[in-house]
Each structure stands twice: as structure tokens, then as C-alpha cells.
Amino acid sequence: MAVVDRFVQPIQSSEDVVRVRQITRERAVAQGFSLVDQTKLVTAASELARNTLEYGGGGEVTVETLNDGGRKGVRLTFSDKGPGIENVELALKDGYTTGNGLGLGLSGAKRLSNEFELHSKPGEGTRVMIARWR
């Protein structure tokens, strides 16, 4: 699998969350995603970018366009050096939140993606990778 293009976007403000949505949309369009697939990926990106900002205290996202033998995809890796997630299983449950959101961010982003990986260590931070293929 080849990484065609890589871009790192800092996430330090709610304006940056908007930028993450725009960059994700741009890459999804360039990879030939259908409108529904674009919307799903951008929505997942928005949820995770907000998590990075609100719970991780800011961080960054690496946006990559992928080509796997002609199959085209977009991969987003969000990372922060925040407090981390105590109970990953619980954090992935619909409706569970330690903040004041709806608790749909992580679980929703997982449903909207083809691939999902979550690594977190209390005190060290969180890394969430999602990918969606055309």
C-alpha cells in the first residue's frame, strides 16, 4: 500500500476543526469518493478533531491519501498528548461521555469508517486512526 500524499494539520482551536473538515473533504474528492462517502468521512473527522481539542487539549491530525493496488483511500490519524482514556471499551459505547457532549464522537466515527484503531494510555495521550476506502 502506497501513501500518495501526507499532510499534518494542527488542532488547537475550533477554527482548526473546520480546517480539518475542509482538508478531509478536499482529499476525499480528489480520491473520487461519492458524496455520501465524503460526508461520512468528513463527519467522522469532525468528531475526532473535536475530541482531540476538547479532551486531548489540542494535538494534530495527519491526513494521508492511499493507493492500494488501484483501491483509493483516505487515512486520518489524530494524536494528542492529553490525559488519555481510562477505559477504552467504555469510551466506545454510544452515549458514554466524560464531557458534556452526546457521547457519539468515538462510536459514531468508528461506524462511519472502514478501519478504526484506538491507542490510549492514561497520562500519555491518545491516537485514533480511521480510514475509508472508495
Binding site: V18, T39, V42, T43, R50, L104, G108, L112
Partner: protein
């Protein structure tokens, strides 16, 4: 500071969201709308989201909040123009927009608002 304009049409307030809102802007709209419902003694609010390409859980919650606050202030809310791709994504995300009335376009939305307001005996 940037703001989403709120137009008044008789007893109704009309909002067309045409920018990709960051979270503070969405919260600002929520506050502004509640203020205006009281100030203008509005009976209904119509929110046109036909230009919105993404409705995530935050924007979804804002829409539900506006409808709930408007309801407490004796005003009805109708959301119109949701793009099909947005609707599909919302459902998969797990958001149901409970308590929010929706219509396909502004015309149908205004019709629905008038009916609702009439049914509530506030012509």
C-alpha cells in the same frame, strides 16, 4: 465578530446557515436565536440547512437545543433542506434529532410552521 444573520418574517424568524460553522459560532447562534424569540415575540423559527454539507454531533445537538429552548418559549421550530448525504450520515452517526420537526424545503417548512402555530391557537 462573524455572526449568522436572523431574519424576521412576520411572526417567524428565519435562519439560513451558509457557512461551515465552528463550534463557538454555533453556540452564538443558539444564544442569539433564543434572545430574538423573546424580543420579537416570535411564534416560530425556520432553520434552513440546505447549504450545510456536514451535520456532526455538535451541530446536531445545537439544532435539538434550539428546538427545545424555542418550545419552552412557546415557539415552534422547523428545520428544512437537509441534504440526503447528511441525512444518511446522521442516522449512521446515531443522531435522531428528537423533537425536531423537519420539512423538505422552505415553502413546505413555512406551511408546517403556520399549521403548527394555528393548531396551538396562536394565529
Amino acid at each position: 465578530m462573524e455572526k449568522i444573520p436572523i431574519l424576521r418574517m412576520g411572526r417567524f424568524l428565519l435562519v439560513t446557515i451558509q457557512v461551515d460553522m465552528h463550534d463557538r459560532l454555533a453556540l452564538q447562534l443558539q444564544d442569539d436565536l433564543t434572545d430574538r424569540i423573546v424580543k420579537d415575540r416570535a411564534h416560530g423559527v425556520l432553520i434552513d440547512i440546505s447549504s450545510l454539507e456536514v451535520v456532526d454531533s455538535f451541530i446536531g445537538r445545537m439544532i435539538s437545543n434550539i428546538a427545545a429552548m424555542a418550545s419552552v418559549l412557546d415557539a415552534r421550530t422547523v428545520v428544512v433542506g437537509m441534504q440526503p448525504a447528511v441525512a444518511i450520515t446522521l442516522v449512521e452517526l446515531g443522531l435522531s434529532l428528537e423533537g425536531v420537526r423537519t420539512a423538505l424545503n422552505v415553502d413546505k417548512g413555512m406551511e408546517l410552521l403556520r399549521e403548527e402555530v394555528a393548531a396551538a391557537g396562536r394565529v
